[in-house]
């Protein structure tokens, strides 16, 4: 009884430490504020800005910024602000979920392969296989096999969401797996790990206590790059008919559609481009801060 209380105290003060360290990281703080604003914006936005993102007002097409349309309208007269908000919701949720899925998969396989010699060969050959598979046909096969089943079971929107997130996750975990494995290979020969092993610590504990915290920084980098990747890949998927219905805006698609109008209406490229970059930048700084905060060596200083 006493013991568990003591443990809780220790861990809560540990989290306190982490938070204290995190707060002192200026970049991380700004990053998290920007990130929260963006997430808040896309969640609350539709209630404040009630124009429907798919509503066409053909007479107002190609108009510049005005009170009625603060970010102007597109070539069919749809309000760009509403489209940015709606697009952000999709892009951020797809970006994060897909990134998370690919990280979990990649880290899991990477750690297993690095830690257990017997699994290394088969798991890495499996990774090679996935690296070698041609992406486009693989995605087309996934649509063919799963789209209808998924949209029947979960409804068209959730079904598509699951399909997209899985497609991106399943085709992007390999780099993380190889990087994590390489780090684990080096780590497990270090003194503190061999020491832990020699006193009989269980492999699962070695992984969670000693290995995982030390491979955090490449994972964080993969996470930041993964989000950018997922947001852009989502827009590419819609060309295959794998993505959301064509009138469904996402940042990636807004950016792509605007490239043809780059010379006439540069602002149309600017907004989606800016918000994709802002999201990725804020996550990058967040990750930086989190890594520093979780690293006991830095936290001590």
């Amino acid at each position: 009884m006493n013991e568990t209380v003591a443990k809780n105290e220790i861990s809560s003060s540990q989290w306190q430490d982490v938070w204290d360290q995190f707060k002192t990281h200026r970049g991380a703080l700004i990053g998290s504020i920007v990130f929260v604003i963006i997430v808040f914006g896309v969640i609350v936005g539709p209630f404040l800005w009630t124009i429907d993102a798919t509503y066409i007002d053909i007479r107002a097409r190609n108009s510049g910024p005005s009170l009625a349309h603060p970010l102007g309208t597109d070539q069919l007269g749809r309000d760009m602000l509403a489209r940015m908000i709606a697009g952000g919701k999709v892009s951020i949720s797809v970006g994060f979920t897909a990134m998370f899925l690919s990280l979990v998969l990649g880290t899991f396989i990477g750690v297993l392969a690095g830690q257990f010699k017997k699994l290394d060969g088969p798991l890495m050959r499996f990774t090679d296989l996935f690296l070698a598979l041609p992406l486009l046909p693989l995605l087309l096969v996934m649509v063919m096999l799963f789209r209808e089943t998924l949209s029947m079971r979960f409804g068209p929107e959730t079904g598509t969401f699951i399909l997209i997130v899985t497609a991106i996750g399943v085709t992007s975990w390999m780099n993380t797996a190889r990087i994590v494995r390489a780090d684990v290979l080096a780590l497990k020969e270090l003194e503190f790990v061999t020491a832990a092993r020699s006193i009989g610590t269980k492999p699962s504990n070695i992984i969670s206590r000693h290995i995982l915290p030390n491979v955090l920084s490449p994972i964080m980098v993969s996470a930041t790059l993964g989000i950018a990747n997922a947001i852009i890949t989502e827009s590419a998927l819609s060309f295959l008919g794998l993505g959301f219905p064509p009138d469904f805006p996402t940042w990636g698609r807004l950016l792509f559609d605007a490239v043809d109008y780059l010379q006439q209406y540069p602002e149309r490229v600017f907004w989606p481009g800016l918000f994709i970059s802002l999201t990725v930048l804020s996550v990058n700084y967040l990750g930086d801060g989190l890594r520093d905060a979780l690293d006991p060596r830095i936290r001590g200083r």
Partner: protein, 565 residues
């Protein structure tokens, strides 16, 4: 503009332009860009537009269509007709008389043996010839001396100009392709990449799916042509980049098929280095309205088959209302600009075949559409969607991935919502949508959707085989591996009977009347809903002269006449 450039058409088949030619190969290099790259120069093996048109600079047919859809003799002395005795009076054979002064680019004479060989090559059962349908109904091709060829058909053929006419049916050299006939056709890379021809240019380098270099043909029949000494034919990229390279940066002289939004084209034109040009063939962007039930709840093999009629689209009032709610003028303005025209027909051209019986569709009529649905008993539910007997009008609307088509989807979805029709949009990658893979649920032929939008056309000027697409026997289904051109599963015995009559009629005026009637039957059943009569938009540099855009044949049909201003 066209009439200014062309002074007269001479029976010999040559066009003289006003510019004084300094002579052959004096104008340097002309650079052409196609955003789809040619993969072979043998149009019999590929059939893709990019391949047919690039090859048309090298190999030529006996006769071509001009920009008005009229036939001009190229390698023949004249176009055979019943009047000049070239076509037999029972319409079962046609005899071509060839010009006797034509040399292949290797210096050997062009004779009737080459023409006969071309037919043998394409009609070989193992060759996989893409243009085999041009030779449909041909029973024999015989040479009659060195410069006469007789083509015999299995029955009266009112339009005997399938073989050897137009860019899809050029003549290849017997000496070069003799060993490539039949199954061997697949392995003659050297010949396929560098056919010897009679045209104005000769291939000097061919890189598949990338670039072709050509030089002027020393043995071309007109000693003053072509004006250009060299051609660079680049492929790849996208339409935007091709338009930019001609109109904004001036790197290229001619860009093909610029399917771009009108304001993007307008902005490029401001670059001042080039001019967009457009021309119209019979290409129509249309809706196909599924008359069978595509519901996923049906067992596989029964979806979208004639076994199950469509739950609400089988009501003509619904189809009619869907058509009435569309503002075609706005679609043209937003999507195609100068490269689009209003139409209410599936056969909008040539003029003789274009009906005017359906022109009420030209004006959008939302109120009228609502009235039609009200009268037919389709009541609006609490969600604003109309329903009758528990069947809601909820439409799955699919098309291929393409910026203009996605804009159309968004617009039409909104108009249909105004008449109480719910729409779900779906876009499919073009290579899957237009691919005939029977395993894929997403092909246009399988049609697992309520309506689908795409464009189709016909080659040459005769709509007979095009109208034949919609006879009952052409309905695709599991028993035909989903092959068949009656995509919307239209079936009307009266239509089939009338089409049969068309195949047996020789008189041109009467043929036009029947073709119009067939078109009207399709339109008035609202089985096909036409949206836009699409033209071809290309662009040429301001310094390039002699360009005449032709939608009935290869766009590069008169490249021999191009010159530098």
């Amino acid at each position: 503009m066209i009439s200014k450039l062309i002074v007269g058409i001479v029976t010999a088949g040559l066009l003289f332009t006003q510019a004084a030619f300094a002579g052959r190969a004096t104008d340097g290099t002309v650079k052409i860009i196609y955003w789809q790259a040619p993969s072979t120069l043998n149009p019999f093996l590929s059939g893709g537009t990019k391949d047919v048109e690039s090859a048309s600079m090298i190999i030529e047919p006996l006769a071509r269509y001009n920009q008005d859809g009229e036939m001009l003799p190229f390698l023949a002395k004249e176009v055979p007709t019943v009047a000049n005795g070239g076509v037999s009076s029972d319409l079962t054979s046609i005899t071509w008389t060839l010009r006797d002064d034509i040399l292949w680019s290797d210096g050997t004479p062009f004779t009737s043996a080459d023409v006969k060989f071309t037919a043998d090559y394409c009609m070989h059962p193992e060759g996989g010839c893409a243009q085999m349908s041009k030779f449909g109904g041909v029973t024999s091709v015989e040479t009659m001396g060195d410069y006469k060829v007789k083509v015999t058909f299995d029955g009266p053929t009112p339009f005997p100009y399938g073989p050897f006419v137009g860019g899809e049916s050029p003549i290849i050299q017997k000496a070069q392709f003799e060993s490539c006939i039949g199954a061997g056709a697949q392995e003659c890379t050297e010949a396929n990449f560098g056919p010897i021809g009679t045209g104005p240019f000769v291939v000097t380098m061919f890189k598949t799916n990338d670039v072709i270099e050509m030089k002027a043909n020393d043995n071309y029949r007109d000693p003053n042509k072509p004006a250009f000494a060299k051609v660079v034919f680049k492929g790849g990229g996208d339409a935007t980049a091709a338009g930019r390279a001609v109109m904004e940066t001036g790197e290229f002289d001619y860009a093909w098929n610029l399917q771009l939004a009108p304001d993007v084209i307008a902005r490029m034109e401001e670059g001042g280095k080039g001019t967009p040009i457009s021309g119209f063939g019979p290409l129509v962007e249309r809706f196909m309205v599924n008359s069978t039930d595509p519901s996923p709840s049906l067992p596989e093999g029964e979806r979208s088959t004639v076994k199950h009629p469509h739950p609400f689209l089988s009501d003509i009032n619904v189809r009619k209302a869907l058509s009435m709610a569309i503002d075609r003028a706005l679609l043209v303005e937003i999507g195609y600009g100068k490269a689009g025209k209003l139409t209410c027909n599936v056969v909008p051209a040539p003029a003789a075949y274009a009906s005017d019986a359906n022109d009420s569709c030209l004006v959008q009529d939302i109120a009228g559409a609502n009235a039609v649905l009200d009268a037919a008993g389709w009541e609006r539910g609490s969600d604003g969607v109309r329903a009758k007997d528990g069947v809601r009008i909820s439409i799955l609307y699919q098309t291929s991935t393409n910026a203009v088509r996605q804009d159309f989807q968004a617009l039409i979805k909104q108009w249909w919502s105004e008449i109480g029709v719910e729409t779900e949009l779906k876009n499919i990658n073009a290579s899957v949508f237009f691919g005939g893979d029977p395993g894929s649920p997403d092909t246009y032929q399988k049609f697992y959707a309520d309506v689908e939008m795409y464009a189709n056309t016909f080659n040459g000027t005769d709509p007979q085989s095009y109208l034949g697409n919609w006879v009952c026997s052409e309905i695709p289904g599991p028993d035909t591996q989903w092959q068949g051109s009656n995509v919307q599963r239209f079936c009307d015995p009266a239509y089939d009977a009338l089409h049969k009559k068309l195949t047996q009629t020789g008189d041109l005026a009467e043929r036009a009347t029947i073709a119009k009637a067939l078109n009207d039957m399709l339109m008035q059943a609202y089985s096909i809903i036409p949206l836009v009569h699409r033209g071809r938009m290309s662009a040429h540099a301001n310094s390039l002269g002699g360009v005449v855009l032709n939608t009935w044949d290869s766009e590069l049909w008169n490249v021999a006449d191009w010159y530098r201003k």
